[in-house]
């Protein structure tokens, strides 16, 4: 019990005293997961919309694959990215291993299937009537797609919330490809693992609280956006 209390007190002080290391770790987490979700959205939404709206041979197979990849275990992604980015791997010349870029790549690989999968399902569920109405009113295919995406925006927003949550709370992949290097690739989750092993529970709890708080703030903003979108 003492351990938890002491930890909580220390956590409180670390947060209010704006401890430099704690905040650098937090910003790195935000940066890595933020960029991964941003790029993931840029790639996943258009490709998901295309797959969702078009009918083609093998579509069902492709959708099953995307859905399977949605549950890709982070450690497996970490292992693959590690092998590819290692100096003796195929992309070794870029010397990306143990950098934030490597962590972004790993999280991106996790995020794309989530964004794509949810986009496919929301776009497909937009009623046929809307598509047909748009087309019958003389809309081009492109205009119809935009119209459908507008209808599906809440679902896409959900995809972004889910994928950001998955990315920022993931520990396996960033641990492997980032190496948990202090002042360089240490993010909230890897820092929690590390500090717990060292017995620095105060720091670990502080980082845990910050992780929760970040997740809450981001979800709150996005949920607010969703609701105000619904009320129209």
């Amino acid at each position: 019990m003492n351990l938890i209390l002491e930890g909580l007190v220390k956590a409180f002080w670390l947060i209010v005293s704006l401890d430099r290391e704690v905040y650098e770790i937090m910003f790195l987490s935000l940066r890595v997961s933020g960029i991964a979700v941003l790029i993931g959205a840029l790639l996943g939404v258009p490709s998901g919309a295309t797959v969702g709206l078009k009918e083609f041979f093998g579509k069902r197979f492709l959708v099953s694959i995307v859905n399977t990849l949605m549950g890709l275990p982070p450690v497996v992604v970490g292992l693959l990215v590690y092998l590819v980015l290692s100096t003796s791997g195929p992309l070794g010349v870029f010397q990306l291993l143990y950098t934030p870029e490597a962590m972004i790549i790993a999280q991106l690989i996790m995020v794309i299937p989530i964004v794509m999968g949810v986009t496919i399902s929301t776009v497909s569920s937009v009623s046929k009537a809307i598509k047909e109405k748009a087309l019958s009113l003389g809309a081009t295919n492109w205009q119809m797609t935009l119209r459908v995406l507008r209808e599906a925006r809440l679902g896409i927003l959900t995809a972004l919330i889910v994928s950001f949550g998955a990315a920022i709370s993931e520990v396996g992949a960033v641990m492997i490809v980032g190496g948990n290097i202090r002042w360089a690739t240490r993010v909230l989750t890897t820092a929690i693992v590390f500090e717990t092993e060292l017995g620095e529970f105060g720091l670990a709890i502080a980082l845990g609280l910050i992780l929760l708080l970040l997740a809450f703030i981001i979800n709150w903003v996005l949920t607010y956006l969703q609701w105000s979108g619904l009320r129209r």
Partner: protein, 333 residues
């Protein structure tokens, strides 16, 4: 568009733009550093030694030393793949193999400390006060078989783990066995294993440095056996062979080794204290001692390092002073 939508749209755009600017700014900052990757053992890092010694070097040479702290086995594997510039490790067998395979060059002794066997204060295996590690291991195994004691192994190919396994083989035991419930293979770093040993009232083998760093958190444990000759723990620095991996930062790695084995570096190591205890003893320039601790060509290697000039080009000299990025290109070539 309703008013609400407009507010919402403006809000989202502002958020995205602000986010993008923030990301771009923080991104530019961190990629502007000259980097060196040092793969090392958990004992040197978790004890705080590297955080004490390296900043002096980093400041002088305008380098950021990125520390990957894994066991000796992992560190050497990382270096073999070309993902590190140098290693600081402690397992003679693995080190010599690393050099023999052509991945490492110029292995040099830098410091040593020692291992000890720790365990619960009530000591069910009855090994307290001894100074014969082999004998103690035998007793732990016996008590373990009777269900009275538990031994926790790092089981991670770390230097500590390698030594532990070699003691078991001297005893003539192969404890890694599904039916041996007294032998727990943790697969974790020294700190984590010490905490686990404390929770489970078990025995384990630890290096002195990590023990002293963690002692205040380990109320159930005490030192039982120490000062056996086989428990000496020498650390070596080895450069990654630049012919194997020319893309690595060989020059800066060389500068780091030169610093660590210089009089100044050795004094820094000597002055590092935890709870008023000296944790690492320098050996780089104590040639006889180094010879006995498994560095037969210590004198030769130190001479070699001393003879290596840090060939600084004009551009690098300016960079050293002016903090310029040019340094990186020069030293990479």
């Amino acid at each position: 568009m309703s008013r609400r939508t407009r507010i919402l749209a403006v809000f989202s755009i502002v958020a995205v733009v602000a986010g993008a600017i923030f990301l771009a700014l923080s991104y530019g900052q961190s990629s502007r550093q000259q980097n060196l990757v040092l793969a090392t053992t958990t004992s040197t890092y978790d004890s705080g030694l590297l955080d004490y010694v390296l900043p002096v070097f980093e400041k002088r040479h305008n380098v950021k030393v990125n520390i990957i702290s894994k066991g000796t086995g992992d560190s050497i594997e990382i270096a073999k793949r070309g993902d590190a510039d140098l290693v600081l490790v402690h397992s003679r067998k693995l080190e010599e193999q690393f050099v023999k395979d052509g991945y490492g060059v110029h292995r040099v002794g830098v410091m040593y400390n020692d291992f000890m066997i720790i365990g619960p204060s009530d000591d069910p295996a009855g090994i307290a006060g001894g100074s014969n590690a082999t004998f103690a291991f035998e007793h732990i195994a016996k008590a373990g078989a009777e269900g009275k004691a538990v031994f926790i192994s790092r089981a991670d190919k770390s230097g500590t783990n390698m030594l532990e396994l070699s003691i078991w083989s001297t005893v003539g035991l192969q404890p890694s066995n599904k039916t041996n419930t007294w032998y727990i293979e943790a697969g974790a770093g020294m700190g984590a294993v010490l905490r686990m040993t404390n929770e489970k009232n078990a025995y384990t083998l630890t290096d002195r440095a990590t023990w002293f760093s963690f002692r205040s958190q380990l109320p159930h444990l005490t030192v039982l056996v120490e000062k056996d000759r086989i428990l000496l723990n020498p650390y070596a620095l080895i450069l990654v062979n630049p012919e194997k991996y020319p893309q690595r930062n060989y020059k800066t790695a060389l500068a780091l080794v030169k610093f660590m084995i210089s009089e100044e570096g050795q004094r820094l190591i000597e002055s590092f204290r935890k709870e008023n205890q000296m944790l690492f003893f320098p050996i780089a320039r104590e040639f006889q001692l180094a010879n006995r601790l498994g560095f037969p060509s210590q004198e030769h290697e130190v001479e070699w390092y001393d003879s290596q000039e840090l060939e600084l080009s004009f551009v690098e000299l300016i960079a050293l002073r002016g903090n310029l990025e040019t340094f990186r290109f020069e030293s990479d070539s």
